[in-house]
Amino acid sequence: MKEFMMIFSGADYTDLGLSPEEMQSRMGKWFAWGDKMEKSGVLRGGNALTPSIRRVIGPNRTVTDLTSAEVKEIVGGYYLVSARDFDHVQEIAQDFPDYDLNGTVEIREIMVFDQ
């Protein structure tokens, strides 16, 4: 088994004007997905990120504070899973709840260094 990271990006919920009812139904889907991954034993961890961004860039270490409204896409969170290969993670990612909001799942393999 290898470890992979699923990185979620897309529009922030704040900027989509979701209704309380819609947000609740999304929560239900996130819970169900988390549950499913736990039960099948693939879930290794994860975090959600707040939408505030501080960006430090360039040789001058220029600092910019951004809000989600100022960037097109924002990384909203990630999950760590253990899986056989990319295809396996792709299968897991089928239940990601926010595809209909044009959300993206980026799958990356955790690099393991052999000595």
């Binding site: 009812e21 996130w30 990120l49």
Partner: protein, 429 residues
Amino acid sequence: MELLKSEKLWFLTNKEPIKPQLIDHLFRHHYGKMVSVLTRIFGLSHLEIIEDAIQDTFIKATISWKNTPPEYPEAWLTQAAKNRVLDIFRKLKAERKRIPHIQSGMEAIAIHDLFLDSEIEDSQLRMIFTACHPELAPQDRIAFALKTVSGFSIKEIASALLTKEDTIKKRLTRARAVIKSKAIVFQIPQGNALPERLESVMEVLYLIFNEGFHSNKKDILIRKELCAEAMRLCKMLFKNKETTTTAAYALFALMCFHAARIDSKTSIDNELLDLRHQDRSLWYFPLVKIGDDAMHKAVDNESYSCYHYEAAIAAEHLKARTFEETNWQAILKWYRLLYDLQPIPIHLLNMAVVELQDGRHSESYTLLQQLQPESLGQRAYLYYGTLTEYYIQRKDFPKAIEHIDKAISLVTNQLEKKYLEKKRLSLLI
């Protein structure tokens, strides 16, 4: 190292991980509660800031719950709303707006108490009375109530009422402007003012229910949601002694009786079915029972409202096991009493329909002749539909077709139009 790992992954080792069961519509209902409470603290003039702040708490919930779902989601949301109180204070201060004085500890306790269940209910009732204030235009009342009390988004209101989002936005803006310009106070009216204001509240709830019950929206879920929401709001009236009236019970009973039939109103392919063709086995009798109980409370005194008679009529339909067993005489009696109380043309038309169902053509025709179709407004097509039925029973088919054509040309509801067209076709065969 191994220990550290297992601690981090507590949710894998925990035998019974906490899985919050989100009650249906928890967010939506909570939104209404919290907006009402915060409005009580800060006043109606800050409604927009309050609505945004509550919306923020839900956003926050969706982010933080993904990893650590709270054991008591509702308590979490309430706490989040409480925390927002300070944020709003800061925001109002920064904008140099008038803010309520909260300095002493007593007042802070008072704010805390406003989040108790009974006080939340009181705040929500205040919001209902605000939304249904006679100073607001009738259409604006519905939109405003669905937004602030029921926690519907503009998109959801537009979709439920078959209206454009822009129209709903305008209605909400207008409602807020009227509340400001007329300095409407956030309270449950007392004394002499109460009966009239309560009348207005019941009318709005009745309209919301009808929007759901008579909508031609394909999506039965949305129709049911509107009906359920009207019933939920109606039930809130029973949380306060002053607003628990026999008329309110009658209105609630009426809603139960109608709602019990909602599944049988349309066929599987969303074709409108009349009472004769409805599958009565689909009627939901637990709801009829609740309506019955409410009706018993509604007849506690002798003063009957139009809701009493409408509920009685709905109950007569439910009593009949088959269409043929319908007690048309009883229904006619209720309609006459209803018309005495509320002499509006539509009741007269319904009486004509009932007479016709019972095979009394000439009585029906006499009633129809008292009617000006124009006086029925958008429902003028029903007048021609009834005349069609009259001519069918008289076997005067050319006249029947002539009138059904008029009905078809006037009807706006697509489901009803299809129903009439199908009937027209059957006349040609």
